[in-house]
Amino acid sequence: MLSRVANSIYWMHRYIERAENVARFIDANLNLTLDLLPGSEEQWEPLILTLADMPLFKSRYDEPSRANVIEFLTFDPENPNSILSCLKMARQNARAVRDAISSEMWEQVNTFYLFVAAYSHRELQAGDTHTFFNRIKIQSHLFRGITDDTMSHGEGWHFGQLGRNLERADKTCRLLDVKYFILLPSPIEVGSPFDALQWKALLTSTSAFEMFRKRHGRITPNRVAEFLILDRHFPRAICHCLAVGQDSLHQITGSRVGTFDNPAEQHLGLVCSQLNFARIEEIVSFGLHQFLDNIQVQLNLIGQAIFDNFFAQQPVEDLDSHRRAWTISQSAGNLMTRTAGGKE
């Protein structure tokens, strides 16, 4: 498979996954605001921290009001991580590999983009919002289903899986980090009384609430963190996403899981094995924020290693590489090592 094509398939999946996550987070927050006690303030700023660039937001809007944040995260063409920008990039990547994907996939990416683009020209009415964001989620599900059912599960498909699962792990990681950061600013307070609604909203935004209930029953911060980081079966849990990504990476190279032939496999294998054998109590006592921060650093390293190993050409537009400062972990992949630069 052409390097350029593999790169575009990988990014097409990442961008669609990213768009879906933005929609999920906004929708969950909208839902949460309906349950707020009278007089308490709506919290929209954390969404920007999770999904985008705060300085960019501040340069374009005066306050993090509901309308401003939704506009910024959904339609703003200047925000490279807005839903519309992500879909535009997904579509551009899909267009560049039309011959390598099925027509059905292309049509789905195209109609998905056209659907959101059509909304960007008119006011999103309060009554439409849930339907709108839910449709985005469903369009993304559709894309996934169409991909699985119309594209051969060969190299290209595995690059797509890899991109989607790395993106998803990254988003779950950020979401958890920001929620803990906002709700429980110091690690000592993890485990103290909390606002059940907030935790429930966190689970809902990752479609995890029902599955969490079946697995753990009562909601406690530790169990929520455990579920979203370490669960092996839940499709949006970091551990699961990375295991699926790892499997695809090894399908691409042909080497066995548990071994490595290149830095991408090495980094991903290290992170996976630590997640496989970690316990939530250790993570919490080490410091959840630091732990999640280390995962983010490792995900960045994995992304770079994949790029170096397979693509080695710029994608149509690699927005992330411009945005994220590149930090090499001094801990050589150990998630339980304190690194300089993490926000404590």
Partner: protein, 491 residues
């Protein structure tokens, strides 16, 4: 094109609107006879259309447009505006079996003669020595590439894919307007338009016994595989595109997808060690045949335009050494030079010993004094075209031009007579298109596609382009033309 305004959809209208107000206005009409009756081959279609309620036709046109939009067959008008589909009209253009038999024979004859001509003109130049074409015409042709002299393409074939433009005059006679031997585009619209028509008009389609066009991509793949270097039994074929910003990108990706071959950009390829390779996730992989959709001048910065960012440095060396097949061969543009075009009947006679089956449009060559004086004296009656442009650029339709434009063109011609030809203004045939809530006649042309490989294949169909502006003779999509499906009927 089509129902663009919100025409009232009267689903329950007792008298469905048909062609009763349609007027051929003295032109040759593809669907109707001068007396207003449908041509015999159009009867089932006309009957079906008049049997539809007005709302129904509107619905079908809209659903066809939506299908094209969802398939992403779109272009950006003037940069950042909203995307729009290429205008498409639901009423097909029908070509009778008898007419088609003649067109097919004529196109086979032309592509064969033109290939012999190309092989000769870049090698022995017998046709110049025989005095059939003046030396000056070739020496002064911008499209004659000295870099290609002495090339020996595989099987001696230079042009494998042609998309000639045919027009019909007042008497219904088909003429060849251009041969388009470089990178003719439009075939993907033929294939996609057909898909849309099958979805929106299934019954009529079956009734009319329309010949299928779906075989094109298979034949194209065979044509390309035939160009593989000697000794390669299952060649790797790739389509080379300038990239997603090219206006024909949809077609490039579509053809690659339909053939199941790689779509590559120049940066995906490299020439090294005597071979052309593509960069893959598993390292370099050899490429044997390239269907290139970039112009000759951009193909290889080491041989042609040194500033090209689209091509592959060194690719021509590999080609010359016979380790790569290229379709079409570089240099074919010389036969598209409109001055050379004027000699095609003589070319056919010289190489095949036959008379041309499909006539040329009579052409005045401005570099010849007698012709030039005639052209300058008759600018208000003639169409003047630059010799080396395509896509309808830089031409003047005399009867529709202002006196100022005509005097500007007179200056152009006097300053550079070799660069201009002139032709009589044809009364191009017309076909009905949907305009709001009724039908109007618009001038059309026809671009069939011919493949030359082990044998010659003329796809039974082609791109019918229609001028969208009433009275306009310019049908090019770059000039606002639309398209129709073309139905070639079985005998």
């Amino acid at each position: 094109m089509g129902f663009t305004a919100n025409a009232p959809a009267s689903i329950n209208s007792p008298e469905p609107r048909g062609f009763e107000s349609y007027d051929t206005e003295g032109f040759f009409d593809e669907m109707f006879q001068p007396n207003g009756r449908p041509r015999p081959h159009s009867r089932p279609l006309v009957k079906r259309i008049t049997g539809l309620s007005e709302g129904d036709l509107l619905r079908r046109q809209r659903s066809a447009e939506l299908a094209l939009l969802n398939m992403g067959i779109t272009f950006n008008s003037a940069g950042s505006g909203p995307e729009r589909i290429f205008p498409f009209d639901l009423i097909p253009r029908i070509v009778e079996a008898n007419d088609w038999t003649r067109i097919e024979a004529g196109l086979v004859q032309r592509i064969q003669a033109l290939n012999l001509f190309l092989d000769d003109i870049y090698n022995a130049q017998r046709i110049l020595k025989a005095g059939i074409i003046p030396d000056y015409v070739i020496q002064s042709s911008k499209s004659f590439l000295p870099q290609c002299v002495g090339l020996k393409p595989r099987h001696g074939l230079w042009c494998h894919i042609a998309g000639s433009d045919l027009v019909r005059d007042l008497d219904g006679q088909f003429y060849v307007l251009e041969d388009n031997l470089r990178c003719p585009s439009g075939v993907s619209y033929v294939l996609e338009n057909r898909q849309v028509m099958k979805r929106t008009f299934p019954q009529v389609f079956a009734e009319c016994r329309v010949r299928p066009v779906d075989n094109y991509s298979t034949r194209l793949l065979e044509t390309l595989q035939h160009l593989a270097p000697m000794g390669i039994s299952s060649p790797t074929v790739a389509v080379l595109t300038p990239g997603i910003h090219n206006s024909a990108y949809f077609e490039h990706s579509y053809l690659a997808q339909q053939m199941g071959v790689e779509l590559v950009e120049g940066t995906d390829l490299l020439a090294d060690d005597g071979y052309v390779y593509m960069r893959t996730t598993r390292g370099l992989r050899r490429v044997d045949v390239i269907y290139r959709r970039i112009d000759d001048m951009f193909l290889d910065p080491k041989t042609f335009n040194p500033d090209s960012m689209l091509g592959v440095p060194g690719i021509m060396d590999v080609y010359r050494a016979g380790r790569l097949g290229l379709a079409n061969a570089p240099g074919t543009g010389v036969a598209d030079d409109k001055v050379v075009y004027a000699y095609v009947p003589q070319i056919i006679k010289y190489y095949l010993g036959e008379d041309a089956i499909l006539p040329n449009v009579p052409t005045y060559l401005c570099w010849e004094e007698k012709d030039r004086l005639h052209v300058l004296a008759n600018l208000d009656k003639l169409v003047v075209k630059p010799a080396n442009e395509s896509g309808g650029y830089g031409m003047m339709v005399g009867p529709h031009a202002t006196p100022q434009m005509r005097s500007e063109f007179a200056e152009h011609i006097k300053a550079n007579p070799r660069n201009y030809i002139a032709q009589p203004t044809l009364a191009l045939s017309r076909a009905p298109i949907i305009v709001q809530d009724h039908f109007e006649g618009r001038h059309v042309d026809l671009r069939p596609f011919t493949l030359l490989g082990r044998d010659t294949y003329v796809m039974p169909g082609g791109l019918t382009r229609a001028a969208l502006t009433k009275g306009s003779l310019i049908v090019n999509s770059s000039q606002g033309g639309g398209s129709k499906d073309t139905w070639v009927l079985s005998e």
